[in-house]
Symmetry: D2
Subunit: 327 residues, 4 copies
């Protein structure tokens, strides 16, 4: 393809980081070298685009050893300036100066919004979903979700050891912003008694009843997963449960940013590789303003317009599964 | 449903075990209790069916605490006797005596073959795919595959630490019998230089060339994944590579049954739960001689006849991905 | 030794549980079988002693498979009743009825206090230190400390991935009650910027200064370990730091009881085995009212009287090491 | 101390790498900066000393982020040339040119031998023991041993899952060269049936007898640890056991260099920090030709002359513990 002659590809990570971002950057860079095109890493997300923080990779070795690293070697920042037209203009000017013909942006909602904004101004851009929250429409799984789920699962497994020695109830606060996906899936994987998430509000009394019931049925422990977006925070809920007499003593664990870190799982590395490779191809095919995503077993495309205007619902079936399996 | 009145469900695990079997057994048992039907665990797979080794679970607590355990609490055995009509007859007689109305069998190829054999004789039976080899037709993923992949990935990550300190080539032998799935996916996840698997034979000379080339391109380590079904065993390959002068010293790791163990990943627990729940429903709906499986995001059904007469091919696209990303 | 004829040994775990308790129980039981004496597990700690909850193990298989399990199969409870003479009398009566000649108690401060109390009343008893807090005088390490330290270390490693992508400061709250051991050692192992612990109080201003200084020196992250016994709680500290302008955004992780769980490390299993074996020998030698402990490489004895009346100081040298290495 | 004015310290890692080497290098560099002396990293061990591969670190940030990394950022090689007087002379000349006043060498037997050789020629040098084999005289533990032990333990835990489902005997080959330390300690930590190590030779018939006995006592699995230095290799032993009829089918796992990798445990990081800090102090105090080591809780010194002329025996008491606990 003569079209690829001297083609220069840019890549950035933006927003909250997610395990597998580096695996994705590596796949993109190596696909670029395989296609004999130029590849430029943009540091610090859109902020770096505005500041012209570019890093030209010379060969495949430049992205060696990052496959298994958590975080992102390109650094990920949120950029206030990029929300403004002025910031976007400055970024586009820098891209042109650097000779970047196409841009791949890896990140969550905000990142894809930014991608859509400059695509509308003529920049060739493809988005890749990466966010442990799995709140992005247009893909079954975002990069990082599987790793975060396993981190939560392993942590709760440890709680269970001590839970069953002491007749205790553990409240575990998980990430996910306004989305309960992570909490619900973790609830199934960990055998939680109940999950509190923004999509399906419940009362403290209902939680208390479920825990008391578990106690009466002979359970010697109870795990309660509380999504950060739930109507009540974990520490508050613990206090209120302690005030009622539920048979178990409550203890709180706030996993926090531990969920964002760690070496990516095999699933996240494979997903990152497939999405990264496809994103390069899509740009070289001349497409833009789309996101690559996983649907079933296939890598598919979704218009960024749709991605940023829809929200990914949490599955009621999975929510109910938690309760049914916790008997 | 009056139909469910006094319904008794049996469940067994058979063949090689896989992480997540216990999570599946738990989901089946708890779904059964939720549906108010009886549930019987059959010990030692088909062998136990022949011997009448039944364990009647009284309540949900009887399968408590097993969600995260590797192996199988029901024990899994291969049964020579069950391959014969005589053994099958004896098994069916025992099921009738115990009053088992429907049977769920969890395992790999052999297990599903056995299920099909007795289904043809009128037993109501549903199969669930569980095998780290992922060689079962009719499902994207079998229970245990994701855990095994992560076990391999974590092991190879450790090799890489020491590999890059010493200019060494590591040969890692993975399981998978006649199927290269595990080896190929691990190859992508681990950043292997090359994968040897039964589906795509290669020569020692070709392997040597690839490794030498990596050395010349400045790589200070090389990972070679060798599927157990490859035309050459890892120890033999190492000897032959050492005989040639490839720039790296070779070292062999045989992971062996480590790949079958370990606490199941979140993915395997979720898959096990979904397949287990669906299998109970399918039996209660009156269906038989089918396997529940994952296709895309959905739990689907496949006739056991098709499952046992087809083989799951390894994806050439993934095989090539290993080489392209290893540059 | 004719003396051992018909000797019956009791063992209990009490207080907060610690990883390795099961490994210790297993070593005690198997040593007992090796010495051909009887062995009785007491359920639920001192509470079970008062209630007569005894479990007579018949052979070595009865403690099979527990070596690697977190928590304690004997369950561990705190007993209010056992603090009273009445409760102790009842317990001693039950021991006599059950024919228990000697008792091994595994646990922390409270457990050893209880052991000393009944030893003074003539019961033959040997204590084994097990507490993740490592606050027990008379041993270098208690069972469970090494596992807890590794759990903290692995968690903070994950934080660091995301910390360095975002210029963030992470506050990690660790257990340890009134003892800063766990926090200080974790601080060295994790490369924390500073550790807040009860033994060496500091001000919020001082913490802020240290973090700001790290920022000025070009650090893109900071880890702050806060012992639960520190003068300020992690959530409160985060709020106060956010109020000041320290260059980093702060985020809080509360590990909670995760630190008590998990499969014991090799160190904890080895320590548990050595202490368990020695405790049986010490009882059979006719000694009582002592604790077995690790000093240097040796298993030594300390009078329970001294154990319960002394506290284990935190090492200032280690505290300073955190700061010196964090430069 | 005016003596420290313009003092330049060199540090290298050599031989087989061990987890914790980087943590040690970091502690040395940061202590050097704290003492306001110059610090030079020597790449590729003694080979780099001969070639003059020096890396002058400018500030503490230059060793940032390596605390938790396996392997060694300084690379570790074995050097044939350094065994010769010529090579040593060349190395010393380079050190003088670079202005290196004192050298810290981190590694195993060969490394310490090399250190002693140049110390005798007037170079100020202090050795630090790092070797997963724990075969170095003069220290209770070398850097890396604890991590390797945990890697083995976690691997065998996974085998046990599947072992108990299938009545199998697993042979696990561990590293350790001519020393059985790792194998014996792993045997206790993993609950192995028997350990084969160079120090206590046994016959295949004896192994078979022990395994058969386990089978008769009702065990449904057996773990056999085989040190690489044992009189028989694991694959050979498996064949011979299969030829006899021992009740279990045998399967082999060769962990290989996995044991050398991985993120260091808390213990190894703490040990590395303490040894590194002390080594700098010892050099600044004017001492040379010694190794810093751990004895009990203390960091002590041993003359390199003694270190290289003595061997560390394996403890018979621990060897017997394996058998006693495996009942």
């Amino acid at each position: 393809m003569s079209k690829k002659k001297n083609y220069t590809l840019g890549v950035l990570t933006s927003g909250g980081d997610a395990p597998g971002m580096n695996a994705c950057v590596r796949a993109i860079a190596r696909t670029a070298f395989g296609e004999s095109i130029n590849i430029v890493g943009v540091m610090n997300g859109y902020e770096g685009l505005i500041n012209g923080e570019f890093k030209r990779w010379k060969n495949a070795r430049d992205v060696g050893g990052i496959l298994r690293r958590g975080g992102t070697v390109l650094q990920a920042q949120r950029s206030e300036r990029f929300r403004e037209k002025n910031g976007q203009r400055e970024a586009i000017r820098n891209m042109n100066e650097e000779g970047i013909d196409g841009l791949i942006t890896i990140g969550g909602d905000g990142t894809l919004n930014g991608a859509h904004a400059i695509a509308k101004q003529g920049v060739k851009v493809v988005g890749i979903p990466a966010s442990i929250d799995n709140d992005i429409w247009g893909t079954d799984m975002a990069i990082g979700v599987d790793t975060a789920l396993n981190t939560i699962t392993e942590s709760v497994d440890k709680l269970r050891d001590t839970a069953s020695s002491h007749t205790r109830a553990f409240l575990v606060e998980t990430m996910g912003r306004n989305n309960g996906y992570l909490a619900v899936q973790a609830g199934i994987a960990c055998g939680a008694e109940i999950v509190l998430c923004p999509e399906f509000p419940t009362t403290v009394e209902n939680v208390a009843e479920i825990i008391e019931d578990a106690y009466r049925r002979g359970k010697n422990h109870a795990i309660i997963i509380v999504a950060e977006g739930a109507t009540i925070r974990s520490t508050e809920l613990a206090e209120q449960l302690d005030a009622l007499d539920i048979g178990f003593k409550t203890r709180v664990t706030i996993l926090g940013h531990i969920q964002r870190g760690g070496s990516p799982t095999a699933f996240d590395r494979l997903l990152a590789a497939r999405l990264g490779i496809r994103a390069v191809q899509v740009l070289l095919e001349g497409q833009s303003d789309v996101m690559v995503g996983l649907r079933g077993r296939d890598i598919t495309l979704a218009p960024l317009k749709d991605v940023v205007s829809n929200t990914r619902p949490v599955n009621l079936e999975f929510y109910n599964m938690v309760r049914n399996l916790a008997q």
